[in-house]
């Protein structure tokens, strides 16, 4: 293990975080919130100072898979620890554990909150909450790599550890160019979202924060009622933006290069859209008696499906009152999640696709024991390696899920609450049923359970392995 390179990477991360913290500082300044402004400024300086102190030229420059994974896992933890400080200093969230929960929830694009009264926050903190989602959505290292080369070619190991999906590949030959194109698309989407929301009549500040929360598929609202108070038009726009952000960015890259046929032949995207349409129709039929017009019914169904499958977690209606069938459909969608290579979380549609295809193959081999059949995705043979990691991923996923449920059950809350809380954390959704339902929040949990849920959020965002690997003692040995 090459610790010097890990330290070097973390030092750069901290310097970038100092830069990020200046934005809420500016927001606070514009809204003349003196305490909040100073809190964010102080944290920015602290980050910068720590970054400079840690920045010693690495003695060895090797950055292998192990160093990449450990750097990313540690960076996300450290980033959250520093990111939580201003919440506490500004007095918005006085308890540090709560502040940390809120920050982790932001960076991992979960959007789970411990706040009962969001509207009481300062503007600076509201902005920072949404901005953490935006940063975490595409990934902080992807942004850093787009700007600063860090270390030669092996930085792919960093990007691979941070980007979601069973097999991360580059869009362009260079890591830097890939990172730049991803962020160009991401920023383009965000600006598009902000403009669209402004046109729909939202105030500028609301537009920015909601666009961040939507495009990053995080789902921090700035109102206590989440999205319920906004007009039907705004809700529809948000639905559209969420679903667009849940699509694999390779799809947009193909569109950008006018490979329209190739873009629409990506099986994952097609499957993703089919799931959305099917779930919306089913739920619409199921809840049609609850709302006066057909238009309103379909709007609510569409919004909830989009919000859950992309793992955003906005809510516009109280889903608690919906029939069990619809609620269960949404629960299934929570597990599926969005496409690989998007900003969303969950198991990912591509993994589901691989799993379904290998199921079919296994069943065929039972009927024809000597059958030889290659599993193909997008016309390409799937390597045994990807198949194996996918299977291991799913198994690990459920082990982590069960184990977390066991640990948080010490708080003695209902099964549904605990189950959906872990599901919401692990899939980066941020909202569940019963005590953590759309109108409730995570403040019901003890500090211990909050740490477990924070771990789940990070594990979910970084696709399990990085967070689990740093728990393995042999990872920290020098050889």
């Amino acid at each position: 293990m090459n610790f010097s390179i890990v330290r070097y990477i973390i030092s750069w991360l901290l310097k970038f975080e100092a830069l990020f913290l200046l934005l809420p500082c500016l927001v606070g300044f514009l809204h003349s919130e003196i305490r909040a402004t100073l809190a964010y400024l102080a944290t920015a300086l602290l980050c910068l100072l720590s970054g400079i102190l840690l920045q010693i030229k690495p003695t060895r420059k090797e950055l292998y898979a192990r160093e990449g994974i450990v750097s990313v896992a540690l960076s996300w933890i450290i980033m959250s620890i520093f990111g939580a400080i201003p919440y506490m200093l500004s007095g918005d969230i006085p308890n540090y554990v709560d502040a940390l929960f809120e920050t982790v929830s932001g960076f991992t694009t979960t959007g789970a909150t411990i706040l009962s009264d969001v509207e009481a926050l300062s503007y600076a903190s509201l902005f920072w909450r949404s901005f953490t989602i935006w940063l975490g959505g595409m990934g902080v290292f992807v942004l850093i790599l787009a700007i600063h080369p860090l270390m030669g070619g092996s930085t792919m190991n960093l990007m691979r550890a941070e980007s979601p999906g069973p097999s991360v590949s580059k869009l362009l030959p260079k890591v830097k160019d890939t990172a730049i194109i991803l962020y160009k698309l991401y920023i383009g989407f965000t600006v598009f979202g902000i403009v669209l929301l402004c046109i729909c009549g939202l105030p500028f500040f609301d537009s920015i924060t909601i666009a961040f929360g939507t495009i990053g598929t995080g789902g921090f609202g700035i109102k206590n009622t989440s999205m319920a108070d906004y007009s039907a038009l705004v809700q529809n726009v948000v639905t559209l933006l969420m679903i667009l952000s849940g699509i694999n960015f390779a799809f947009y890259f193909c569109l950008l290069h006018r490979q329209i046929k190739r873009a629409f032949s990506i099986e994952e995207v097609r499957f993703y859209l089919i799931i959305i349409v099917a779930a919306t129709i089913t739920i619409t039929l199921n809840i049609s008696h609850m709302y006066p017009t057909f238009g309103e019914t379909i709007q609510h169904a569409f919004f909830q499906v989009g919000s859950i499958i992309t793992t955003t977690g906005f809510s516009a209606v109280d889903v608690e009152v919906w029939p069990q069938f619809s609620k269960t459909i949404l629960l299934v969608l929570m597990f599926i999640g969005s496409c690989a290579g998007s900003t969303g979380g969950g198991i990912k549609v591509s993994r589901l696709l691989i799993l379904l295809k290998s199921f079919r193959k296994e069943l065929s081999t039972m009927i024809h024991p000597r059958l030889v059949k290659q599993i193909k995705i997008d016309g390409r043979n799937l390597s045994q390696e990807v198949l194996r990691t996918t299977n291991v991923f799913i198994a690990m996923y459920f082990i982590v899920l069960l184990f977390s449920m066991l640990l948080i059950s010490v708080d003695n809350l209902s099964f549904t609450t605990n189950f959906t809380a872990v599901v919401a954390a692990l899939n980066n959704i941020g909202t569940g049923y019963e005590l953590i339902g759309p109108t409730e929040n995570f403040s019901v949990y003890s500090a211990f359970s909050k740490f477990i849920l924070m771990f789940d959020m990070l594990a979910g965002r970084l696709e399990l392995f990085p967070m689990l690997i740093i728990l393995v003692p042999s990872c920290w040995k020098r050889y």
Binding site: A65, G152, G153, S154, T155, M156, N157, S169, K170, L172, P173, K174, V175, K176, D177, R380, S383, E385
Partner: protein, 452 residues
């Protein structure tokens, strides 16, 4: 520059290693996923798993906006096919590695008809390197350029050499030799010498000439060129064949030791003048019996790196021969340098090196009139090749009458297939290729060599 490399073997790996440090966008293609992963894990390159001769895969790799395609898979036919298909899909330059001796005699035809920029034969390249070392064992290093027609030979001026305290101008006047001193390295300084330059002991001199004229020069200055008269080659592979052919052509008595009887018969068929010994090259008695102790040149070219190293050490131990060791696979260079072997040749690295040179010069020529560029002495000096497209202020005037910048030297003129080492009375003509050696400033056009 956009570069596609097909084949992720050792050569492909070395190429990516060399080129990824520069500002190129590299895409690698190989049929084996693990080999692609090996490269993409370590270097900043995009990997595609698939057949590089497939148009679909090439399209995916972005062939339409690619500048250079390099095919270095293990199969000659696949490499050529990749180049043909790439050429149909776009107007990129292509390089293919082709090692079958049958195609080798048709290289010019293939290049012209298939429109391939360069065909490289790794075995031939290594054999040329070894042959050059045998030709001038006293040389420190030998560079070739202008497509191999010109050799730049580096050698050290010894204390008792005629050249010690010798004026450069006398080489032409008194010795009447048609050679050109391009560059002198005195300690860490690189000098482009003029006529009044005086050589000192310890200078490393780079001389440009054709191989034949170099011999005459060395004879006249009294350095025994020490050209090997007898050579022993252990191992009868392709490199041995090319090497023996070359050595025999220049009148060197060559002996090949090969274990396989069939191969021995083939070799004796192909090389009637060589002495082919059927036997185990690692048998000490056999080596001594065949006169290893009195041989001038020894080349260990078996398929096993370890065997080659041991054979070379043994040869160094019992004889005073110039020893060349072939190493294919292993890369413990720090250990190897301690073993005190004379010369080591790495065929795979050599191939990659030649291709890298081409890619570099191509990158340079994209935005200037430089046809080719070679970095010398770790980039402290460079040799540039210009092509004179049309009559200009520089053509038709004797070189002595041109005001040429300091630190710039006209090294040679290539007129058709003729190589001219220019004197003051020579002149540039339209359609000449001119090689210039220079240190210091940057030249983008042949006109830049003129003062002011």
């Amino acid at each position: 520059m956009q570069i596609i490399i097909i084949g992720c073997g050792k050569v492909g790996y070395t190429l990516v290693n060399e080129l990824s440090g520069e500002d190129h966008n590299i895409v690698v293609i190989d049929i084996k996923e693990e080999r692609v992963r090996l490269i993409t894990d370590e270097f900043d390159a995009l990997g595609i798993v698939g057949n590089g001769a497939s148009n679909q895969i090439l399209k995916e790799a972005g062939i339409t906006h690619t500048d250079l395609l390099i095919a270095v898979t293990g199969s000659d036919e696949q490499n050529l096919l990749c180049c043909i298909i790439a050429k149909k899909a776009s107007n990129c330059k292509t390089i293919a590695s082709v090692r079958n001796p049958i195609y080798n005699s048709e290289t010019d035809f293939l290049r012209k008809e298939l429109d391939i920029a360069m065909i490289i034969n790794p075995d031939l390249a290594s054999s040329s390197e070894i042959a050059r070392i045998f030709q001038f064992p006293s040389a420190v290093k030998i560079d070739t350029f202008a497509k191999g027609r010109i050799e730049l030979l580096h050698f050290r001026v010894a204390k008792d050499s005629l050249l010690n305290n010798y004026d450069l101008i006398h080489i032409r006047n008194k010795l009447n030799c048609d050679v050109l001193v391009c560059m002198v390295k005195r300690r860490d300084e690189i000098i482009i010498p003029k006529g009044d330059f005086v050589f000192r002991e310890g200078d490393v001199i780079a001389i440009a000439s054709s191989p034949l004229k170099l011999h005459e020069f060395f004879r006249k200055i009294g350095i025994s060129t020490g050209r090997v008269q007898t050579a022993m080659i252990v191992g009868g592979g392709k490199i041995s064949y090319y090497l023996a052919k070359r050595l025999l052509a220049s009148g060197i008595n060559t002996k090949i030791i090969e274990l396989d009887v069939r191969r021995c018969e083939q070799l004796s068929d192909l090389l009637p003048n060589a002495m082919i010994i059927n036997g185990d090259g690692t048998d000490q008695r056999l080596l001594i019996q065949e006169g290893l102790e009195n041989v001038d040149g020894f080349a260990a070219l078996t398929g096993m790196d370890e065997e080659n190293i041991l054979l070379s050490l043994f040869a160094k131990h019992v004889s005073r021969a110039k020893v060349v060791t072939k190493i294919n696979r292993i890369t413990f260079s720090s250990v190897l340098s301690e073993l005190n072997l004379d010369s080591i040749t790495y065929p795979r690295l050599l191939t990659a090196d030649v291709i890298t040179k081409y890619a570099r010069s191509m990158n340079e020529s994209l935005d200037s009139n430089v046809e080719n560029l070679y970095k010398l002495e770790e980039g402290k000096a460079e040799a540039l090749e210009f092509y004179i497209k049309e009559d200009s202020a520089i053509t038709g005037i004797p070189l002595a009458d041109l005001k040429i910048k300091k630190n710039v030297l006209v090294c040679c003129i290539r007129r058709g297939s003729q190589i001219i080492i220019p004197g003051g009375q020579d002149e540039f003509l339209e359609e000449d290729s001119v090689v210039i050696v220079q240190s210091g400033s940057r030249l983008n056009d042949i006109m830049d060599i003129l003062e002011g």
